[in-house]
Amino acid sequence: MPIRNFSIIAHIDHGKSTLADRLLQATSAVSDRDRREQFLDDMDLERERGITIKASAVTVHHTYNGEDYQLNFIDTPGHVDFAYEVSRALTACEGALLVVDATQGVEAQTVANAYLAVDNNLELIPVVNKIDLPAADPDRVAMEIEQVLGLPAEDCIYCSAKTGKGIDELLDSICRILPAPRTSEIEQTRALIFDSHYDEYRGVIVYFRIFDGSLKLGDKIRMMGTGRTFTITELGRYTPYPTKVKEIGEAEVGFMVAAIKTLDDVRVGDTITLEHDPAAEPLPGYEEPKQMVYCDFYPATAAGDGKKGDYEDLREAMEKLHLNDASFTYDTTHSDALGFGFRCGFLGLLHMEIVQERIEREGGVEIVQTAPTVSYQVEKTDGELVEIHNPADLPDASVIKEIREPIVRLEIICPNANIGDLIKLCDARRGTFKEQKFLSDTRQILDYELPLGEIIYDFYDKLKSITRGYGTMDYEIIGYQPDRLAKVSILVNGVPVEALSLIAHKDNAEKRSRAILVKLKKQIDRHQFEIPLQAAIGGKIIARESIKAVRKNVTAKCYGGDITRKRKLLEKQKEGKKRMKTVGSVNIPQEAFMSILDQGE
């Protein structure tokens, strides 16, 4: 039976998951009774937010020219944070549907994902989606695709993932245009692990694509990278319902269960071979995902008093989630202000937010999060190079030769009218102009190189507000560069609070510090004493503020009928206070730890 393996890729919200719905429907994989929108987005968070977070692979059948084709396809996420998910999915495929919204046109992640696919030698089918919308302009969008990506406009397939128009033609094109998978190159079995997932009852579920040979139920397998061996106890495909099979053959995609207890025993990108007849060389794997931002998670309730209870709950929740998402990292850390917690690394801010939400939701623990920062490389005077993920870990200034920060290549797609303002924004963020190209007569592509630290927090929001929602961006790290960077310490009541420290450029450190102190002043309640707030580089104070002492906090009237209510009110205040962190006898609320994101603009 002929096989076609492909991914669906696009800019966020251009309709990948909805298109996947139509493919499931047109191939009768999902009955009308079970139909629901974005069928493959089965995580609660995915459904709530309306976005895809994890790629999902399914197997369906389509008859083309009287022949039954097996189609294995992967719906991928569109958000820039999850580019790693996309790149993994692409290695399991020979082709990709590049979906472009007929009302929006080519966007930043359209370009980025298209290049990813081309780099992986994939055949692309450009699909212009949402043609049912009144504002759709498929011809213009097809021209953009031709101009920007070099894919002939006449090759575009027009469709609507909503009405189903064009879907049959698309299915035929998939069979006709996409290449058949390569045949086995060696006699031994080799399968690439492109994803894994933890199930409480069955252990790790491994998603794989077979390149050479086949896998059968009961086979004794070996992971070529880790050297671990297991016996396959379950094999199957998602159709999209999990369907057990006895064997998965050459070029096919499937999942397996093999009594694998932890995700540490499986590495995504590793090659599976057979224990009794192993392949000599593994398949090319993946690079480990690169964490872009770091922040600390602390349990919200332990008041930095060294109590372990909530810390242990948090650890358990982190371990559990890590089984399902190996792309974030976490290490134990301790802070004077916040007690025991974890320093965590994420692929981006959305990823951070999602991990936080999942830990709170699935683990039932509440988290205090510190402001995210990027990682820095520090060259010491003795030549040693250290990578730090936390301003608090910065070595003493006297032994630092230089601090290097991550630089990204940023690509912005925006309407012509906004170019001036965006250039201003990029320049203010220490950007270096690289290139400006026309994408169509109304839109342009702007290329900049700038520090990741300058775009990670609020840049995207600024871009959206400048372009009234029409601008999009994509970025990738291209290296590290030294600059005049320094650690700014924030002192509350004379005590430096490491969790509030940051690394800033010397030219705008003062302005940023002042903005942070003003924000802190609003967030910290008045105490019985005056609280000085200071920002310092080395020993030098560069900004200061103060919080006046509270003069009056008294319930004037408390008679018989008031007692219960007043007591409950005070108890509520006390609860609130418990959840704050105490530094130098000052209670700092959790939100305050995010105030260093304020750019001072």
Binding site: Q528, V550, R551, K552, N553, V554, T555, A556, K557, C558, Y559, G560, G561, I563, T564, K566, R567, L570, E571, Q573, K574, K577
Partner: protein, 411 residues
């Protein structure tokens, strides 16, 4: 429909007393209060006002004269039911509201007669009635004194028409003086004036003037409150909408300090955060509250505390009038020992007599929270918010202004 009281049967029976039924308590009769006992105090709530003041969160409804008689009838049956839980002589009675003086004279006669017929009342009882300066008449006062009332608490609030307007408090300041004179003439020896400071727009001089005006009337007792913004009142609404500005903390602190100084100079003793009296004139009824003593409550919206149980009669006139025997209750609460100690500390520290060290020790040694509470008290002693005086612990002047911050940690 009434809300189910926020209490579980498990809590109820943990008291050791057994409960016949498994449903939440409908009235105080369902609570394991033990055998009838001597209650020191009785609070009676009269829920009528002729207008709703904008800072007020008491339960009261704008008076419909047509329901006063039915209300008093029902109150009498409430007295009868309550008397079954009370043996011995009542030491203090407080009739509050609302505006008790809005009740027709004839109904007052009936009420007072029933009170005496139902309860045993100590011969040296302190018997207070709250009065609105507009509604005090010689005729009414004669009925009150004949019925044993010996203390009048007049809601003066302010003598400044602008301030009264701000509070939407409808009375003529001149009527305060008239009420005091009438009360004196009727033989009432113990008079309290309620005053409010830190009203938006009020200056320190305005307040000093108010205080002097009040002193010139020679009251025996003064309650001076910093204005409180209670939830769900028009004042709070206006504050949230930015239509009025709360007095500055610093100014309010100055007004409070001035009150302390001025009243001391006039021979008054401050015995509670907001209460001052001439020697021997402390309000015995209110002291029951702060000493966590027992009192019974009659009338809708009235709160009681008996044998560790707190509850409140449902604040709805209709439901109250329709009932018989003991009224339906809500907000039933019975704290565990640790909670009760926290509450006791919260209330007792309001009093300037403070807590004797030995008593404090026994409170702190009783439960596991003792050391934490002790540490917090020590911190506040160090910070000068509490002080030790004649082997008692009490708040300092600065502590009084920060009382909530202090007791917060002791709960």
């Amino acid at each position: 429909m009434r809300k189910p009281p926020p209490i579980s049967i498990a809590q109820l029976t943990s008291d050791g007393a057994s409960l016949q039924e498994k449903s939440p308590p409908q009235s105080a009769a369902d609570l394991p209060l033990g055998t009838p006992r001597l209650l020191s105090g009785l609070y009676v709530h009269i829920p009528f006002c002729f207008h709703k003041c904008h800072y007020c969160d008491f339960y009261s409804i704008v008076d419909h004269k047509d329901r006063q008689a039915a209300f008093v009838d029902r109150l009498v049956s409430d007295f009868h039911a309550a008397a079954q839980h009370n043996i011995g002589a009542i030491q203090t009675i407080f009739i509050g509201g609302g505006t008790p003086t809005l009740l027709a004279v004839g109904l007052w006669e009936r009420l007072l007669r029933a009170l005496h017929a139902t309860f045993e009342i100590a011969c040296d009882v302190e018997f207070t009635v709250e009065a609105n300066p507009e509604t005090v008449t010689a005729e009414l006062l004669n009925v009150l004194t004949a019925g044993g009332v010996n203390r009048l608490s007049i809601g003066a609030q302010s003598f400044d028409p602008a301030a009264l307007k701000m509070l939407e408090r409808w009375h003529d300041p001149a009527n305060v003086q008239r009420s005091v004179s009438l009360a004196r003439a009727a033989g009432i020896e113990n008079i309290n004036l309620d005053l409010i400071f830190a009203i938006p727009g009020e200056t320190l001089i305005d307040w000093a003037h108010d205080l002097d005006t009040a002193l010139a009337l020679h009251p025996d007792h003064l309650s001076c409150y910093g204005l409180m913004y209670e939830p769900n009142t028009p004042m709070t609404m206006r504050l949230k909408q930015g239509k009025l500005h709360r007095a500055d903390d610093e100014l309010e602190a100055q007004m409070y300090q001035h009150t302390i100084d001025r009243l001391a100079q006039a021979g008054f003793e401050q015995y509670e955060i907001s209460n001052w009296s001439l020697p021997g004139r402390r309000c015995q009824h209110n002291l029951l509250y702060w000493h966590n003593a027992d009192w019974w409550a009659c009338g809708p919206g009235a709160a009681a505390h008996v044998n560790g149980w707190r509850w409140k009669n449902i604040p709805r006139l209709d439901a109250y009038i329709d009932g018989d025997a003991l009224p339906e209750i809500q907000d039933v609460e019975h704290l565990d020992e640790d909670g009760r100690i926290g509450e006791a500390l919260m209330l007792r520290l309001r009093l300037l007599d403070g807590i004797a060290s030995s008593e404090l020790d026994s409170l702190l040694n009783a439960t596991a929270s003792g050391p934490l509470r002790r540490a917090s008290i020590d911190r506040n002693l160090e910070n000068g918010l509490l002080e030790v005086c004649d082997d008692t612990i009490r708040m300092t002047n600065r502590g009084l202004l920060l009382a909530d911050s202090i007791v917060l940690e002791l709960l």
